[in-house]
């Protein structure tokens, strides 16, 4: 393009500057941060006159020899021009004005201020002011409608508003800009400009484009953009003719568009790329003065605008002969011979390349595409276009084409104005981090806070140190290390401290391990990573350590420093944690969009069975959030927290899905508060975290205290009783998943907790059942019953029949039957497994655990039945309303049960009696496990159960002694035929024995005498059968064994619980045949129980 960019010259001190021409165009007037207004007689003026208007000058406007400035004393003042004499204060604001401007006639001044107001003041009479209120943030710029009806303003609240001046009202408002809180923070000054003359368009700089709004309709009619203009447009200015629009951008680009053709006719670049913040056209339209934020003034000279074109048509015609130059001539008739300066080289865009065929100089290269564009544009335009310049261009172009041949023509269609990409924008990927650490830029920070201890980093000027402290001082004493290597990452386990530092130019990234549990004297090792590979994340498992590196690799070391594994990761690691033999890695799967992160997760298991459990599935995060914590629960279930405070946990029972278990934000008092998670426990259910007031992470001092949050699944309607119970049930199920996981991977589990959780679940089911019954939702009742164990179903049946829902009871009985059948079927299969499991384990708890549950069910059943008996005997009526009530009654019973538990003697006696059963137990425990678990609905029942377990020890002894031929064996045969119950009991006994193995063994010899409690249990069993079926008469009969058998037969005939009842009977029979001698004892005990009740 044919304009000349004059060298910049220093004008003001660094900061915001503005520039304008005087009316005649003789002077350039600038103002700047130094509070001076300088009046330049052209760019070469070495001694500009200056007027000091204040400490700072924010904006100026000049018209009719009146210089209006906005200065730092919150006023808008007038000075005469060019003399610079103060001429009064036009208006005041509560804070500084940001932009002032004259209207076209110079009769009014508009000023926008940081106090959100826009004022329109008559220059002649400053008392005539109009205030435009409505912006909600500092005003960025104002501009007058040339016809004086409207005023447009832009504000930091993101709105561009058109005001009706007379009515002082908002006409229209467009939310076009980014919101900020101050002019100094605004990315763009958004200097608006109204087309002079016709006043048809309002130009609004929006990001890297300029949007034109049409006066009157206020529609967005077009957008001026340029491929090379990528940064925010700061300021726009119309040429005096109103045909061209100049824009200055943050990056220093200066563009001039021909508005009618929407073509960029001029591109220039600030020589140093500083932000252009002031822009003014010379009244003749041939020059543009601009200033930057560094206080420099620059000038573009030799611009050809349409006015000049029209005057020069003749010369153009002359130029036609040289087709490559014609365009040049068009705009540049004055000095055709001018050579492009370096600035123009910037303007070379790919768009121009198509004209490779041109053998002319650079100018031509540049021009050709431009002409091509113009031509196409002209063709599209109707002939009546006001834009004479472009029209002519078009005509000429046509002529050119003829001359230059086809080379240029194809280029034209290739240069449509590209519309900017408006789809979803990618989010910057989150950086790798260590879960449980605070940001690395802090001088005092946590490098790791986990369930083992705390690693702190102190990084002062004088020293850089790391403190390692253990929650449990039994693990190791606290350590203090000097951090000479500059470690930034750490992990801590019961065995070691792992530290890593990123590499520098000279030094490779290092991994340091303080293996304090090592039994030799070398408690430390260090590894250098290959040059150029940095540690991004690290973690410690049990006996191994893993690091993720910038080379997308995971390296696994043994805890002693042996390199064990290496594999590649599909994306940049985000973080990594380990627990036992599991390794959980989260990495970037892809770029995230719209504020979200696209993360993938892998779960690997090392140890003897190496395998990948989760194969890089996407990690679900809350909307527009990122990962903030990743870890395992103390029980080994993966879980993580996102920046929205939602805690999610892996649900292994539903195909490794992630369940949100808590939203820590819900418990925050204020929006800026958050919880910094440090650990999660499933048993007991605890979310351990540190409350942080007004921040995302805690300071190291004062030492933060850990708080405990409860979990809550986000189920619907948790305010209702139904919702609450459902939530509790689901949560209980979820948080008992780890039992099966742990036992399957060979760890010990807390059996008491497991049985407790199962009991709770069944209790909840029963409560929900009762609730549904009350609500007359029988279908729902059946659904619930299907979730219950068989024993609880029997309770439900009783409940249903008592509340006179015979249809429901009928259906439930079918379910009960089905369940019992399932149990039977499952038995044989499970038996095999069970036996296999047992042998290796010996007295191992895992085995016991499996067996125990099943056995417990039976015991519970029995107990329940017992309870019923006692109740009935007492003549109490079952309260059908609440299952809980029944529990209460049971309490006395439970107490009794407890006492036997504690006295070891009791169990022993049972054991002696139980021997015959033991054999059965060995074979059958598996079957028990297959059966649905019977958890007592009644809380108290648990205690009562324990009494049964006492009998268990005997069973266990049997197990141990199985190899030796014992008296019981013959009995086993009989049992093997049908006695499931006995088997289960035996298993129960075993499990319980495990807990007190030594005691049991000692007691074996003593076994026979105290058989009485066992007898009781057996007696009770028959009763259970009775009770189910409402026959009160039989309660009294329970004492007599023969009677019981008969009644059982009757029950069978009744059919619903045949199988079970049959089993019970058999058991009873066998027990008796086995020769429980001391039946007397039973009676005593029972009496005692009753008395207690």
């Amino acid at each position: 393009m044919p304009c000349e960019r004059k060298p910049m010259r220093y004008g003001h001190s660094e900061g915001h500057t503005e520039v304008c021409f005087d009316d005649s165009g003789k002077f350039i007037v600038t103002c700047g941060n130094d509070g001076d207004v300088r009046i330049w007689e052209g760019l070469d003026d070495d001694d500009p006159k200056f007027i000091t208007v204040g400490e700072k000058a924010y904006s100026l406007a000049l018209k009719n020899n009146k210089l209006v400035t906005a200065s730092s004393n919150n006023t808008v003042q007038i000075h005469t021009f060019p003399d610079g004499d103060p001429d009064g204060i036009l208006t005041r604001f509560t804070t500084n004005a940001t932009h002032v401007t004259f209207n076209s006639s110079g009769s009014r001044v508009a000023a926008g201020s940081s106090d959100f107001m826009v004022k329109v003041v008559e220059v002649s009479d400053s008392s005539q002011q109009k205030t435009l209120r409505g912006h909600e943030a500092p005003v960025l710029s104002v501009t007058f409608d040339p016809k004086d009806d409207f005023l447009a303003s832009a504000s930091c609240d993101g709105n561009v508003v058109v005001w009706n001046i007379k009515e002082q009202s908002q006409l229209i408002s467009w939310p076009l800009l980014q919101k900020t809180n101050d002019v100094s923070n605004a990315k763009s000054l958004c200097r608006l400009a109204w087309q002079p003359g016709t006043a048809k368009f309002l130009a609004v700089p929006v990001e890297s484009k300029v949007q034109l709004y049409e006066r009157g309709s206020w529609d967005h009619v077009s957008t001026l953009s340029d491929d090379l203009l990528t940064q925010l447009v700061n300021v726009v200015a119309w040429s005096p003719c109103g045909q061209f629009l100049a824009a200055g951008s943050v990056g220093g680009s200066l563009n001039v568009w021909d508005v009618s053709s929407k073509l960029c006719v001029e591109r220039q670049k600030h020589e140093k790329g500083f932000t252009v913040c002031g822009l003014a056209w010379h009244p003749s339209g041939s020059q543009i003065a601009y200033t930057d934020t560094e206080g420099c003034l620059g000038l573009l000279d030799g611009l050809r605008t349409s006015t000049s074109n029209s005057t020069n048509t003749a010369s153009k015609q002359a130029a036609v002969t040289k087709p490559a130059k014609d365009y040049d001539a068009l705009f540049d008739d004055d000095d055709d011979d001018r050579v492009m300066d370096e600035g123009q080289s910037d303007t070379n865009s790919p768009v121009k390349k198509p004209i490779a065929g041109d053998d002319d100089d650079d100018d031509d290269d540049f021009l050709m595409p431009a002409t091509g564009r113009v031509r196409s544009r002209a063709i599209l335009d109707d002939e009546n276009s006001l834009d004479t310049g472009s029209l002519k261009l078009g005509q000429e172009k046509c002529g050119d084409d003829d001359d230059t041949g086809s080379g240029v023509v194809p280029a034209a269609p290739l240069v449509p104005l590209r519309s900017a990409y408006e789809g979803p924008m990618p989010t910057p990927p989150q950086k790798a981090f260590q879960p449980g650490s605070t940001p690395a830029h802090l001088t005092h920070r946590f490098m790791m806070w986990n369930s083992v201890g705390i690693v702190r980093d102190y990084n002062d000027e004088q020293d850089n140190a790391i403190d390692v402290e253990f929650h449990d001082t039994a693990v190791h004493h606290a350590m203090h290390l000097t951090n000479t290597l500059g470690h930034t990452m750490a992990d801590l386990s019961q065995e070691a401290v792992l530290l890593a530092c990123p590499g520098t130019d000279e030094l490779a990234s290092k991994l340091q391990c303080l293996h304090f549990s090592s039994w030799d004297t070398n408690k430390e090792w260090m590894v250098d990573l290959p040059q150029g590979e940095d540690v991004r994340a690290l973690c410690l498992g049990q006996g191994w350590a893993a690091v993720a590196t910038s080379a997308l690799m995971i390296r696994v070391f043994s805890i002693g420093g042996v390199q064990r594994e290496i594999f590649s990761l599909p994306g940049n690691v985000v973080c990594m944690v380990a627990h036992g033999e599991q390794l959980l890695i989260v990495y970037h799967r892809a770029p995230g969009f719209d504020g979200g992160q696209a993360l993938g997760v892998q779960l690997l298991q090392f140890g003897p069975r190496k395998r990948q459990l989760i194969h890089g599935e996407p990690l679900p995060l809350s909307h527009r959030s990122y990962l903030s914590w990743l870890g395992f629960t103390a029980e080994g279930t993966p879980c993580y927290v996102d920046s929205e405070g939602v805690v999610r946990m892996l649900n292994r029972s539903v195909g490794n899905t992630w369940i949100p278990v808590c939203n820590t934000r819900e418990t925050c008092k204020s929006k800026s508060d958050s919880y910094w998670v440090v650990g999660i426990h499933e048993n007991p259910q605890q979310l351990r975290c540190i409350p942080c007031k007004g921040s995302r992470y805690p300071p190291t001092l004062p030492r933060p205290a850990v708080a405990i949050l409860p979990f809550k699944l986000p189920l619907c309607q948790t305010s209702t009783e139904k919702g609450q119970m459902e939530e509790q049930y689901c949560r209980s199920l979820l948080f008992s998943n780890h039992f099966s996981f742990l036992s399957s991977s060979g760890y010990e589990i807390d059996e008491e907790a497991q049985s407790q959780s199962q009991k709770d679940q069944q209790e909840l089911l029963m409560k929900m059942f009762a609730l549904s019954c009350k609500l007359e939702r029988e279908f729902r009742c059946v659904e619930l019953a299907e979730l219950m164990t068989q024993k609880v179903v029997t309770l439900a049946i009783r409940y249903a029949s008592r509340s006179r829902r015979m249809a429901l009871a009928q259906r439930l009985s079918e379910i009960a039957l089905e369940k019992s059948n399932q149990i039977q079927e499952a038995e044989p299969e499970e038996e095999e497994d069970y036996s296999s499991v047992r042998r290796p384990s010996g007295s191992g708890q895992s085995e016991a655990a499996q067996g125990r549950h099943s056995s417990r069910r039976y015991q519970e059943e029995e107990e329940e039945q017992e309870e019923e008996q006692t109740e009935e005997e007492e003549g109490q009526e079952m309260e059908t309303d609440e299952a809980s009530e029944t529990k209460k009654r049971v309490n006395p019973f439970a107490k009794e049960g407890v006492s036997p538990m504690k006295t070891n003697l009791m169990p022993i006696t049972k054991g002696g009696r139980a021997n015959p059963f033991k054999v059965l137990g060995l074979g059958k425990p598996s079957s028990a496990s297959g059966q649905p678990r019977v958890n007592n609905i009644l809380d108290n029942m648990t205690t009562s159960r324990k009494s049964f377990p006492l009998s268990g020890p005997a069973g266990k002894q049997n197990k141990n002694t199985v190899l030796k031929p014992l008296a019981p064996r013959p009995k086993t045969k009989t049992q093997s035929t049908l006695l499931q119950m006995s088997g289960t009991k035996a298993s129960n006994k075993k499990t319980q024995q495990n807990t007190q193995p030594t005691a049991d063994r000692q007691k074996e010899p003593e076994a026979p005498p105290p058989a009485s409690p066992a007898d009781n249990t057996e007696n009770k069993r028959p009763k259970t059968g009775f009770q189910f079926w409402l026959e009160e008469n039989r309660k009294s009969i329970t004492a007599d064994n023969p009677d019981l058998e008969e009644t059982d037969v009757i029950k069978e005939a009744m059919g619903r619980f045949r199988t079970l009842s049959a089993e019970d009977r058999l058991v009873r029979d066998t027990g008796r045949s086995g020769g429980r001698v001391p039946i007397r004892g039973e009676g005593h005990i029972r009496d005692g129980v009753l008395e207690n009740l």
Partner: protein, 186 residues
């Protein structure tokens, strides 16, 4: 009742500690304590907290009121009001003394807290003396002891009661008609 007895009572107050050892629930006559998980705060009586602290088995978390800002507020209020203002804890003096003596390293700004609590104490004792003085001089028959702590009452009880007894005797002897036998006692 002497001060050590009051302190003994104060030791039943609970305080949060962060143990550095692991222990199951312990069952005591006074109630169950625990379970103790390393790093997890747990409420225990002061006597146990101090014992554990002395054995370096725990870190004590100071009570919420043991905070410079809150204590300054209380002190200012105490100075402003003529009557006794409510104190943060019925054993504030004892607890401050115990905790600051044995666990000052766990309490931020321990010295300031000590001074503040002493200020509050002095203000209150001065008020107490003043009101006792006016109580006697105005021959009041009864006084309310709202918001007084056991320790504060204890400091003045013995002296006040004795002196009241004395006064009573003296006054009863002033009346001519009163028994002269009492005089003989003296």
């Amino acid at each position: 009742m002497d001060a050590s007895e009051v302190e003994f009572l104060a030791e039943k107050e609970t305080v949060k500690i962060i143990p550095n050892f692991s222990l199951d629930k312990i069952y005591l006559i006074g109630g169950d304590l625990g379970p103790f998980n390393p790093g997890l705060p747990v409420d225990v009586p002061v006597w146990l907290a101090l014992n554990l602290k002395q054995r370096q088995k725990c870190r004590i978390v100071p009570p919420a009121w043991m905070d410079v800002d809150k204590l300054e507020e209380i002190r200012d209020l105490e100075r402003k009001e003529d009557t006794f203002t409510p104190v943060p804890s019925p054993y504030y003096m004892e607890l401050t003394k115990l905790l600051l003596n044995f666990a000052s390293d766990n309490i931020p700004k321990a010295d300031e807290i000590r001074t503040l609590v002493k200020d509050i104490w002095d203000t209150r004792i001065a008020k107490l003396r003043l009101s006792a003085d006016s109580f006697i001089s105005q021959l009041e028959a009864h006084a309310k002891l709202d918001n007084l702590t056991l320790m504060e009452i204890n400091t003045i009880r013995a002296f006040l009661l004795d002196s009241l007894n004395c006064l009573y005797k003296l006054r009863s002897n002033q009346h001519p008609g009163s028994s002269k036998g009492q005089f003989a006692d003296f």
